[in-house]
Symmetry: C2
Subunit: 479 residues, 2 copies
């Protein structure tokens, strides 16, 4: 499939400058880079480049340009939308940031740290914690995902309602541009209104405008006190009532507010059979709520007083408060384990939807009803970051279905869900990005004005279309 | 100065479509639009256009384009950097958004509201408060500034350390582009990762890429409890120690942390002689600190416990806590009155600097020392949003100095301050923007890579250079 001439040229161009370990071309060695957490697609590439520094990234970009190759920047490869997976492997090179792993600085007095793109999120959080500081981004993949990828996808996760998406946690960026020059905006200034804020363009661009090589991050004091509760409620409407009340009663101290259906317990225990049930499990819907703080703020007392009120009012009908960090961890295992449980039931529809907070209960009801009508043998599993209006409304085909039939069910379910979503003016990608998986659905809904702006900006920054072609937009058709 | 032919054409083109009140051409009528809060410059324009709707803004943009005129979008005209003041009045039209004043929606259950660009900030805050909600942006000009201008300048103010700059409060935008089409991204979704986030480009662009006509804003529950304290400390280093301690002890409940020199009391009382001194006034430096919350969080108790500790430790040496909203208001009058006091001492140097939080005390000391050496007869007044690393280091020439001499002092002081600032890698504009006033200082410090990116984006979105030419960058020289 590959042009051996090109591969050899690339090796000649880069081996001398970057060293042998920096370029992989054997299929077996490239395999882990050719498949993301979406899991259903395994691709290939001309080569995988593994530079060790920003200067080496520049070298790699220039070499690829000279050879007419395009570049797919890749972080921890934990994406779910094929954003860093080649779709034209005969002309695409994967550029992994995994060896840019330095913590360039950590200044607790400045509430900031500067890290290279290849740093793993969990390690960043640990390094910050070792100095009493907290980097709030938290998501399932944090043990594997890398900060450059988090920035490039504007990652969300469970703490967004308090701390914002990745965009709000970024103070500065260093980016290698498509022409191989370095855009250095790696400042830790909190306020800087010197003209158009260029770095915003690269956050969430999924590597289509340049390669994020380093990031300046906003830190907060480590919240050493965390109160966690799992609460049973009667309806999604009550979940939203509880959320509004918690926002008011607990102010900005609430750090997570996740909702789950009762099937979450079943799914989690399919993946982790030893998980002890923390609660009856027979309420129509559950909320995992967390309040956190430090210093003089007693979050345990706050949680207790809050729950007393909402139990008395009948808004919450069952509940358990974690008495220890281990118990809190156990509660979170249900939230996390339900993903693994879904995966074990085979290929299924994963959605990543956001709607207006006030429209969320009606949306979920309508979308689930539409799925029940269209594919009655499938199971809906709706859960997610409800405080942000973000719901993962997944659809699981029944066991034992042939692959083609599963695929049909998934296709039909996605179609009916998106039809409801469009009426609610919601987003088909709240936090996962577009990548290649959602490109068609994205382009189909893209107004002309936005399409022209996106194409104009792409052409302004990457006129040779070197960076991640085919991701987000099919630009050949836009020109 | 004007080409009467062009003016007549514009009148013909627009009067019929927009009505008589939509176009001003008399010098007297245009005067209020030709001078901003910077105050030292009064300009002129071909006309002032006052459309009433987004569609009329589109009409106005198209008419100006056809006649080869450029457009200066204008909000409340409270800027300090001449960002909305014509510098080539013979070819420039001011487009005021003051008649786009509708509140399009307010949904407390969605924690959002959608307002048109001409809504005055204070009125937006009042409308939100009437539904128990809070729009956190707070700044001195809030009784006059308009939200479109706040967005276009990414306004800061006193609540940034808790709620972020305007950028972080914007959920969606509607923008009339330079070609007269409408970029409609007026969604209230909290999470939406559908590709590159185009709206970010227009936030802080000072109208150089398009005209913001409506904004979707993020609301929070109204903080009905506010604890305010004025504290005296020994040094700026102690101020930073207090800040770090407050961030930890009070978590995310601290909503303001302003520092002021003792001369603030003198200056405020020069402007408001009846102001009663709330505190001795003989400490080296003062901090105005605010904690706020709602619901179950007792901010008064939190403030009291916090202050007990820091007084006991000797970090705070004097202090007063407001016992009522009226007393709190009185404390804020000193912070606000010092600006008016400075204005009464005549033309002076206003700076709007940010540096790393950890470098702030040394920066202020070095910069003040440099000023004392260079212009020994001037007085430094350093104050500001220290929790964001943002200091207004102003320099007041002595009374009775001739205008040319004042101007020399100001020029010299700015030069020596900026020289120190450059060593600290700080920003010459933390929150005020660049406009035309700071353009030369901005361009002088602009790295080539950034310059090329900014020019490329401008050309991609506004190839005819219709929008606010001369603001932020001198693009003729960039092409």
């Amino acid at each position: 499939m590959h042009n051996p001439h090109t591969t050899a040229d690339l090796q000649v161009a880069l081996r001398a400058r970057l060293g042998d370990a920096a370029i992989l071309t054997e299929a077996a060695a490239m395999l882990p880079y050719c498949r993301d957490w979406h899991g259903d697609v395994t691709s290939n590439a001309i080569a995988v480049l593994r530079p060790r520094s920003t200067a080496e990234v520049c070298d790699a970009v220039r070499a690829c340009r000279e050879l007419g190759l395009s570049i797919i920047p890749q972080g921890g490869n934990t994406g779910l939308v094929l954003g860093a997976i080649p779709d034209r492997p005969e002309s695409q090179v994967i550029l992994s940031l995994e060896r840019l792993k330095a913590v360039r600085s950590l200044d607790p007095d400045d509430f900031s740290m500067v890290v290279e793109a290849g740093c793993i999120l969990a390690e960043i959080k640990e390094v910050a914690a070792s100095k009493g500081m907290f980097f709030p981004l938290a998501l399932g993949a944090q043990g594997s995902c890398r900060i450059g990828g988090n920035v490039s996808t504007n990652a969300g996760g469970i703490n967004v309602l308090r701390y914002g998406m990745t965009r709000e946690l970024v103070l500065g960026l260093e980016v290698v541009l498509p022409d191989g020059t370095v855009f250095d905006a790696l400042s830790t200034l909190r306020k800087d209104n010197r003209g158009v804020d260029l770095k915003q363009l690269f956050i969430g661009a999924e590597g289509t405008l340049g390669i994020v090589t380093a990031v300046a991050l906003k830190l907060t004091p480590f919240p050493d006190r965390v109160a966690t509760a799992l609460l049973g409620l009667n309806s999604l409407e009550d979940v939203m009532r509880l959320y509004r009340r918690a926002r008011r009663d607990c102010c900005d101290l609430m750090s997570a507010f996740e909702f789950m259906p009762p099937i979450a317990f079943t799914l989690a225990r399919e993946a982790m059979p030893d998980l002890a049930m923390p609660i009856g499990g027979d309420c129509p819907v559950y909320v995992l709520m967390e309040i956190s703080g430090s210093g003089l703020v007693d979050v345990d007392d706050l949680m207790q007083r809050f729950l007393e009120n909402v139990l008395e009012d009948g808004l919450v009908i069952d509940g358990v408060v974690a008495a220890s960090a281990a118990q809190a961890r156990n509660l979170w295992l249900f939230r996390e384990g339900m993903n693994e449980g879904q995966a074990r039931r085979g290929t299924h529809l994963r959605t990543d939807i956001s709607v207006q907070l006030s429209g969320l209960p009606d949306f979920v009801k309508e979308a689930e009803a539409a799925v029940a009508t269209a594919v009655p043998d499938c199971v809906c599993v709706s859960y997610g970051h409800i405080g942000d209006g973000n719901v993962h409304l997944n659809v699981l085909p029944p066991a034992g279905l042939a692959a083609a039939e599963r695929s049909n069910r998934i296709h039909t379910a996605k179609k009916v869900i998106n039809a409801v979503l469009d009426r609610y003016h919601g987003s088909i990608s709240a936090e996962h990005g577009i990548g290649r998986l959602k490109r068609a659905d994205f382009e189909e809904r893209l107004p002309d004005v936005q399409r022209h702006l996106l194409a104009a900006i792409k052409k302004a920054i990457d006129p040779a279309m070197v960076m991640n072609p085919g991701c987000q937009l099919n630009l050949k058709e836009l020109s």
